[in-house]
Amino acid sequence: MPAPGRTRLLAALLCLLTLAAPARADEVTGTWTGLLEGYGNYYLERSTRVVMPTMRVTLQSPVGLDVAANYLVDIISSASIAQTGSDEDAVFHEYRQQAEGQLVYRSELPGGQPLTLGARFGYSFEDDYRSRQYTGNARLSLDERNLDLDLAANLTDDTVESNADPNFAESRRALTLNSAATRVLNARTTLTLGYTFSWVQGFQANPYRRALIGPLPFAEEHPERRLRHAVFGRLGHLIAETGTGVHLIYRTYVDSWNITALNPELRLVQTLHPDFLVSLGYRFYIQNSAWFVRAPAYPLGWEGPVTNDPKLAEHRTHKIGARIDVRLRFFEHTPLGFLGAGSVVVTFDRYLNTNAFGDGYIATVGGRLPL
């Protein structure tokens, strides 16, 4: 079957997946192109296991319009007294589904500067939580793409319920504004600097978790509003002689709950063969406590916000990992030749966390196939 026919058939069968649009439509012949991606994501820690298969389809038209769809299932297995209502930890399973649709339009300003506009809608649902996410973004490329300016706005509208209380229903809304500038410093080096602001309003606690005031458990109660700021930078440099990419990433975060976090990261990407890349990464994260955190219990008579959320307490994390990307060109000239344009990826990380959630493992296996 010729490529355009196969593309249209897949587009009709799958109503899927998001993000990314690396494949280029063929403007000369006027045909659509696209990309099919599938990943199995896995996270394991002491009391929680997450399995999250994801599928994505992106289609590019020859007239500068991309259409993408994304679908994932988040299968969470945890041991919890609060959620199961039993006298001891028992395993329970949660299932979250998320679907997203995205449109991207590529155009130019009258002066010829490339302009990309995008809009995305996502809907996530599980039996006690629903989230609607609206995103708009724009990228303007200047100076023959030596400078890219990015702006994005995201609005999240969540409904929080509780399996333990059918009368419980709260809302949570967040508005996030992202800005970034990426500059080509020279033929081998790029620098990105950005700033993110997020305003969160509404219920931000966990309806199942309890905090101790004296000897007695009380439902968590977080402040209704949270203002969040982050400044980030990324420096990428290619050592062309050895085929090594060096990436330095840094993020500083502060918020109105008095949390300050620092987050440096180093990634090395090594081309061992045109079809085989290996990446190594190290990420460090450290933060202080929110102002209303008290451990192990709040004093009798405490009247302010209460929490038992480990991620709001002082802690640090280390993430060490590796990634392998393999292009499947060795399938060319075989009966599976249609895979020849594709690639597979395997990642593995060890995640060390000093807060009560504890250490974990992160793994991903997946692939992408141009359409």
């Binding site: 993000l19 990314a20 990943y39 994505r56 969470i76 998320q98 996530s124 599980e126 996410q133 100076d143 023959e144 793409r145 030596n146 999240t156 949570r172 996030t176 500038a181 500059r183 080509v184 410093l185 020279n186 033929a187 790029t190 620098l191 990105t192 950005g194 993110t196 606690a205 966990n206 969040r228 700021h229 400044v231 980030f232 990324r234 990428g236 440099h237 290619l238 085929g243 990419g245 993020r251 500083t252 975060y253 502060v254 008095n258 300050t260 990407v269 081309t271 890349l277 990446s279 933060q287 991620k311 709001l312 994390t317 993430k319 990634r323 995640y351 966390n353 974990g360 992160i362 991903t364």
Partner: protein
Amino acid sequence: MNRLLRPTAACLLLGLALAQLSSCTHVAPYEREHLADPALDTQDRERAYHRFAAHIYEAREGAGAVGLSDVAGGGCGCN
């Protein structure tokens, strides 16, 4: 007040850095082969992985996914 000064200072530094960027080397389109090298141009290829990693940070770290490029936080009751 000190907490407000920190993001303000960060924004000023960001602005100064951006102002300095105009003095960088101009790379013509025909000179961009290294910039397209997969060892340097990783964002698209690694986007799916970083999105899952951000999902974990959102559930396990106080800063969550705020300030991570191309990721919008939230979307689940992973609190």
